[in-house]
Each structure stands twice: as C-alpha cells, then as structure tokens.
C-alpha cells in the first residue's frame, strides 16, 4: 500500500514576480527574479540545489524545448534540470516532480520553477497552436475552431441548462466570483489587474464566448514563480515556519468525457476524483470545515463555480448559494483567491500552479504582503490547478499545512 507524500517534504523558500503584460521582460528575466527571491527566502546558496524542474507550456512562443534555457539562465551547475508540461497545470507538475524527487530520498533539496511569457504572440488570449494540437495533430482535422473561453463557455451553457438557471441568474453567480477576485487583487501588489469592478459592469461586459463575458475570463500574463523544497525532517534547519506538503494529486481525463455518454458536461470529473484522493492523502474528512484558504483554478468564472462542487465544499448545483452568500470572500469561511486568482493576479500558464502555492505559503506563514489580505490563523491551504478544457483536462490538487 502506497504511503503517499504526506509530511515527507517541506517548502522552505518561494519566489514570485509581478504578473502582467511585461513588454520589457523576457522569460529569462522573470526566472532570475523569482529564483533570487526564493533563494533569499530559503536562506540557502544555489549550490545546495541538487535537481530542478521547469514547468512551462508554450515552448514555441518562448523558452523552446528542454530546460536548457533555465539551466543556462540561472547558471545551475551541471545538475539534472527537466522541462515538464501538463498544460495550465505545468507549474504544479514541476512542484510535484521536485517533491517526489525529495520524498524518494534521491535528493535533499530541489527546485521547482514555472514561467510563461505569453505576450510575445501578437494577439489577445492564448496562442492558437495549443488549440490545434491539444489531442495531437489530428486536432487540426477534427476539432472545432475553438478557443479556451469557448471550451469553458460550453461548461457554463450546460451548467445553466442542467440546474435550470436563466442566463441572468447564472451570469450573476459568475459575476460575483469575478467581483470578489477583483476586490482581493486591489491589495495584491504583484497582481496583473488591481482594480475593483461592479457586478453590473461585469454582467454588462462584451461577450467573449457566450455566456462568458470579458470579466469572466482571467488575465493573460507574463510571469514566473518558483519553490525550493527539502526533506521534511531537515526543514526547520532553514526556517522556523516551513510549509509541509500534505497531499499532492494529479489526474487526467480518460476519454470518457470527450467520447462516452456518461459525463454531464456540467462539472469537472477529474477535479472531483483528484480532490477525493487528495483529501484521503491529507487525512481531511470534511473539506468545508477543515480547509482554511484556497487558490483554485479560475481561468474562467464558471470554472471556479463548478470547482466548489467538485472539491466537495458546496453541494451539487448549489455553489451559487455559497458564492453569493460570501462564503468564499476574504472574510468568509473559506477565502478563495486571496491574491486575486488567475482572474486578477494573471495567468502565465506555467507559473500559475506555483503562484497559487506562493500565496498559500505566505498566508500560512502570516506574511501576505498587505495585512488587509492576511487570513487569520490559517492551518490548511489548498491549491487546485487545471489545464486543458472540461472535456479533456488535467487537474492537480495540492494540500499544504504548517
């Protein structure tokens, strides 16, 4: 029987750049900034890092194949450095690889980096190349002319139909999600979008892919984030408040959602299944009571809405009630996206999973950059990082605690 990863690995240092349309910064610049912050935070020297992973998605837009660019940019001294990719969950994949390496006993200290430089493609939204090849080059021939918002818009269309929500009712719940994240991001100095917007503004915004409007979509940003992990039993040698990994689970679609008739298209099956495994690994019996703070994958407002049900915090079909009652607000029972989330902190694909963890790590340590954003006495934090589209996706759920 596998033991799982609980309490075997600790995070001892993290770094995260400002996210945004960083026209004057390259992927290399961003990696250097995140890396230097993490080294200082951990209080270690570069030579103590024994292995490293790079999470990154659009290699053709910026960093290319392998992790050679990262190794050469950071001047990592002939250690193993590997590029990993799992769509928008690539950052979480690099952290998973580093944690597994340490948990296996192969290394004591490892680095997980995530970076994405999206704003060199020449247009808004994500580069087209991913859409043409998500399921191999056959996608060119047989997949619809879709975009990322369109893929998730189909989740909203079906969710509304299944739970008999009028477009107005559905859009109101989604608007509340984005309203909350904008409010949080005002106090998040490294976030991409730091303005408050009203529910009315959100609901009246131009439609990107029906029923999703502009404010239902997250920021498309440049940025990098990284983590330094070590063996749990040596973590306190580096700092008094390391953050311990309690669960680390990943799941990917089996083809049932895309090709078999049993999926309702109104929830994310991988999130549901991966969350169950993660709760079991972390020993969490009642997530609604036990989780202190979350950063979930809000690429689109509807994604966040369905996550509340798939993470088994809200009952099926009733996330709207929790959302609109403020349950996930900064002063609610489980604050979600205290840093603004993908929606406002921004979404440089490969960096997002590590950015989520950066916020949870700081919250658990009581070091959220502006005190107004600091959650009181958090014990257990959760990150949920998703890639792909509802019908073909990868989900990572990580649970950490002090």
């Amino acid at each position: 029987m596998a033991e799982g990863i609980r309490n075997k690995v600790a995070i001892i240092g993290m770094g995260c750049t400002r996210f945004g349309e960083l026209w004057d910064k390259s992927a290399e610049d961003l990696m250097v900034e995140a890396f230097q912050e993490a080294l200082q935070d951990a209080g270690i020297e570069k030579k103590q890092i024994e292995a490293a992973w790079l999470g990154h998605y659009f290699d053709e837009v910026n960093v290319g194949k392998t992790a050679a660019l990262m190794s050469q940019t950071l001047k990592l001294p002939y250690i193993p450095v590997t590029r990993v990719e799992n769509a928008c969950a690539s950052g979480s994949e690099s952290l998973r690889a580093a944690c597994y390496a340490v948990a296996s006993g192969a290394y004591d200290i490892a680095l997980a980096m995530g970076v994405e430089k999206l704003k060199d493609c020449g247009y808004g939204g994500l580069p087209q190349s991913a859409i043409l090849t998500l399921l191999g080059t056959k996608s060119r021939f047989i997949n619809p002319n879709r975009t990322a918002p369109g893929g998730f818009a189909m989740l909203a269309t079906k969710y509304f139909a299944q739970y008999k929500l009028s477009p107005q009712e559905g859009k109101h719940a989604m608007a509340y999600i984005s309203w909350k994240s904008h409010k949080n991001a005002v106090h998040s100095p490294k976030a991409h979008l730091r303005n408050e917007v009203s529910i009315e503004q959100i609901m009246k915004a131009p439609i990107i892919a029906w029923p999703l409007g502009l404010f239902d979509c997250c920021g498309v940003s440049d940025g990098a984030a990284c983590a330094i992990v070590c063996r749990a039993d040596m973590a306190k040698n580096f700092r008094p408040d390391p953050v311990y990994v309690k669960a680390l689970q990943v799941g990917i679609s089996s083809g049932e959602e895309m090709m078999f008739n049993n999926w309702d298209n109104a929830h994310i099956e991988t999130t549901y299944r991966v969350a169950q495994k993660a709760y079991q690994e972390a020993g969490i019996k009642n997530p609604r009571q036990e989780i202190s703070v979350m950063e979930t994958h809000d690429c689109f407002s509807i994604t966040e809405l369905t996550e509340y049900e798939d993470l088994q915090i809200s009952p099926r079909g009733r996330a709207k009630e929790d959302i609109e009652s403020g349950f996930f607000n900064l002063d609610g029972q489980i604050p979600n996206q205290p840093d603004g989330g993908l929606k406002c902190f921004g979404h440089p694909i490969g960096a997002s999973g590590l950015r989520m963890m950066y916020e949870i790590y700081k919250q658990l340590q009581g070091k959220a950059q502006e005190p107004v954003r600091q959650i009181k006495n958090p014990k257990i934090g959760l990150t949920h990082n998703m890639g792909g589209v509802p019908a073909a996706n990868v989900v990572s759920v990580m649970i950490v605690g002090l």
Binding site: C121, G122, Y123, G124, G125, P127, Q128, S129, L132, T137, K138, R140, F141, I142, N143, P144, N145, R146, T147, P149, G150, A153, M154, L155, T157, K158, A161, P206, I207, I208, A209, W210, P211, L212, S254, G255, E256, M258, M259, F260, N261, N265, A391
Partner: protein, 483 residues
C-alpha cells in the same frame, strides 16, 4: 430498365437579395438591376461540399455499398489535381473499388454526366452510378454575372433497380461557342454581348437539341409533361418557351428568382423539382446548355408515386437566411481581402499532414468512428481500446459511420474570440442517436437560437484552406435540423 433510382438536391442556406447587390454596385451599371434573390454558399462551402450534401439527400436510406461510381460535374471544382469526385466518394464512405470522374469545362457537364452514368449502366459496366453536379461561380463585382449566378448542387443515382424515371434517350450538339469563357488562371469569367449570346447560341442550341431528341424518340412537344430549360439570366429562357409553343404547365420553373443560374447544377436541380411533382407516365425533357446543348428525356414510372424524398426542392428553397450586407457576401466569396488578425493567420498557416489525412481519411473525411463489438458503444474518433469504462475491450471494434446519424445539441457556445469568416464561431457537443458524442463546429445557424437539446444533423464542409499546401481541408460540422 435504366433510369433514375434516387435523387436529391441541395441549395445553400444563405440568400442575398439582388437589390442588395444592386444597392452596392448599381452605380456602376444600371443594367444590372435584376429582381429576386439568389442562393449563395456559406464561407465554408464549395462545389464538393454541396455535391456531398445533395448526395446525402439522394442516398438517404440506401445501401451505399451498392454505388459503383461517382461522377461530379462543375466548372468550379475546388482542386485542379486531386479528383473532386474522389473527395465526394470518400466523404460518402463509399467502397474504394468504384469508378470516379470529374466532368469539367462547360455548363452542360451536369447533363453530360447524367448521360454518361446512364450509358455505363445500360452497357452493364456498372450497376449504379451517382451523377452529381454543383457550381458556385462568382461574378465579378458590378457585372451582370454577379447578379445572375447562384449556387447549388444535385445528385442522381442512375441504375436498374427501383427506377422512378426511366432514361429514354438523349441528343447532343457541341459547338466551340464562347458566350462565356474562363481561362485556367482567371479569377473571374468573361462574356460576349448578351443579345449575341442569346440569339446566336442559347436559343438556337437549346431548340436544336430538343428538336433533335424529339425526332430521335418519335415524340411531339405535346407529349412532354415538363421541359427543363436552365436559365442563363432572368428572361432569355422565355424566348425558347415561346418558340417551342410550350403550354405554361409544361414549363419547369427555372428558380432564377430563388437560386439564380447555378451553372451545371441548374438543369439537375430543375429536374429534381420536376420529379418532386411528377406523376407516373410523365415525360420530362431536360436540357443542359453550354458550348452546345444536351437534351435528355425521362419518363416517370409507377414507383415514383411511393418514392420518399429526403428533402424536396421546395423545402430546400424555403430553408434560408438572408444576408443583407454586400461586403459580407464578398467576404464569403473570398473576393474581399479582410483582416483576419494574427490569430486568423495562424489558423491558416498550419500545414496539412497529407500522409495523416490519407491514413485517417475514414475518420476525417467520412466521419467514421468505431463501435465496440463487445458492449455496442459507438465512439468517435476510432478507438482501439473501448471508451466505455465498464468494457475496455481491446481491438474488438467495427467501423461505424456518424455522418448520417442525427443527434442533439448537448452544450454549445458562440465564440467571438475565435477567428471565422462568419462570426461568432458556434460550436458544441453533439450526442448521436444510438450513442457516441463529439464536439463539432456548428454552421448555417443563428447562434442566438441555439438551445441545449435541439435536434442536429451533420454536414460536410470545408474546415480550412491550406494556402501553404494549396488544398481544402474538409470535415463535418453540425447544423440544426430545419423543421
């Protein structure tokens, strides 16, 4: 008995009123003021896709393995070298050991391929041939051609079993008469003075062919239930009607006001419309004009009384949506070089892997997936390991065609971010009757009228134009079933 055993027409969903065209271009030439509307392709349609649509209507309910050949007639074939009839045959999921041929170069090739199909069956070299014609000609902006030309297609299955209209003979005249012509590298066609075309070509050639055929078959004009004279403009067919002294009820409507001059498709669409109304014993004479003229005569059999039509021509005519913007029409025709944005550029700049298209042609071009022999689950694309989690059988699959299955719309979106020539880009998940589901583009629809659960069917369309490798990429899209 050799004759027509099945048929189907196709008229694209979009129409443009000729007033719209005249409103935009009439300042140039007031003589282009023509009445009525014309049928026009969506941006994702061409002669091949329209021929497939007509053939799907023709072959509804029939065993496609019994088709021994496909002929396709057009002056607007999308490919110069890559047999267009071969694309049609592949899309229809026909057997590979069949005869295929493109008929090109003149507007009498639609009737020519009907004759060739009938002759092949008569000679015993084929049991049945699917003869298709389609055209999507673009008149130069401001020209009378632009007002006259419309788009459409029709398909006829010629055979010996279950004949609904016997083929009773043909007569042809051929002349190097250049009323209209087009060079191999021309973007638009050319024409000589209209009165000369009418008086020296159209009227005498059509009459010569009809007279010749009647003499050959020992028939009189009064023996004909319907005479089909394809239109070359709004008026000139009427001159032939008068000269032949046809009674009004003998004249088959040209549909010029509803479709326009659809080139090779016109006589065949008119024949389909005539057969929709024909009674047993009716003789129908059809002519095809262009560099001469063909005349063919058919006689409806008793079987026509019980023949079930997938989509009668009247239904095709009434299923429509008007485009009110001339510039949108020009964009659909590829005449106006619009801004596609970098996203649109990248969509076009993804070269086709030809060997992959060939290897997976049955999935891509024919929309065939697999059906598990163990649990009966249909699945798309073809899977070697069954997608049913309760089954998971390995290599227990048989081919399963989805293109002729109806379905319902499971979910959808209308996307303003995706680049398309007809925004917003609608797409959604189709759940097929009998099982199986996949996501598809949705075309020929009003995106604001899409609803979860609405009935849908599949249509063969051009998915992209690969400008790098000079080819059209075809696939299937979903359309709402028009009630």
């Amino acid at each position: 008995m050799v004759g027509i055993t099945a048929y189907g027409g196709y008229i694209p969903y979009y129409r443009i009123n000729r007033k719209t065209i005249f409103g935009a271009m009439g300042w140039l030439d007031s003589a282009t003021n023509v009445k009525g509307e014309k049928a026009i392709c969506n941006y994702d349609e061409d002669t091949v896709t329209m021929a497939v649509a007509a053939a799907v209507n023709c072959l509804k309910g029939l065993d496609r393995n019994k088709v021994d050949g496909v002929y396709l007639a057009s002056t607007t074939l999308p490919a110069i070298e890559r047999q267009n009839a071969g694309v049609v045959a592949t899309a229809l999921d026909l057997r590979p050991n069949i005869r295929t041929a493109d008929f090109a170069g003149s507007n009498k090739m639609g009737t020519a391929c009907l004759i060739a199909a009938a002759d092949a069956v008569k000679a015993g070299s084929a049991g049945s041939i699917l003869a298709c014609a389609g055209d999507a000609r673009t008149g130069k902006p401001g020209s009378i051609d632009e007002q006259n030309y419309g788009d459409g297609a029709a398909a006829f299955l010629m055979g010996t079993e279950g004949v609904i209209a016997s083929f009773d003979g043909s007569y042809s005249v051929s002349y190097d008469f250049m009323g209209h012509w087009m060079g191999a590298t021309d973007e638009f066609g050319h024409f000589w003075e209209g009165r000369w075309v009418k008086e020296a070509g159209y009227v005498p050639f059509v009459i010569e062919a009809i007279t010749g055929l009647l003499k050959k078959t020992n028939l009189q004009v009064k023996d004909l239930a319907k005479v089909i004279i394809p239109p070359i403009n709004a008026r000139d067919a009427e001159t032939i009607v008068k000269k032949l002294k046809l009674e009004p009820n003998q004249v088959q409507n040209t549909m010029f006001d509803g479709i326009g001059d659809a080139g090779n498709a016109s006589p065949l669409l008119m024949l389909a419309a005539a057969l929709d109304e024909a009674k047993p014993g009716d003789r129908i004479l059809v002519t095809g004009y262009g560099n001469g003229c063909d005349a063919l005569i058919f006689r409806a059999t008793d079987a026509i009384a019980t023949y079930e039509r997938a989509k009668p021509v009247a239904k095709l005519l009434s299923t429509k949506h008007e485009i009110t913007n001339y510039n949108q029409y020009l964009t659909f025709r590829g005449v106006l070089p619009i801004e596609t944005g970098i996203r649109g550029e990248e969509l076009e700049a993804f070269p086709t892997q030809i060997s992959r298209l060939w290897r997976e042609r049955k999935e891509i071009t024919a929309l065939c997936g697999s059906k598990c022999k163990k649990c009966g689950t249909p699945q798309y694309p073809y899977q070697r390991i069954c997608v049913n989690p309760e089954c998971g059988a390995v290599d227990q699959m048989e081919w399963y065609r989805f293109s002729d299955k109806k379905g319902t719309l499971f979910t959808f979106t209308a996307d303003n971010l995706a680049f398309t020539f007809n925004p917003p880009q609608a797409y959604g998940v189709i759940v097929f009757e009998g099982g199986g589901k996949f996501w598809f583009d949705i075309t020929d629809c009003d995106p604001s009228k899409l609803e979860v659960g609405m009935p849908m069917e599949m249509t063969f369309r051009r998915k992209y134009l690969d400008k790098w490798r000079g080819l059209s990429g075809y696939f299937w899209k979903a359309i709402p079933i028009q009630r």
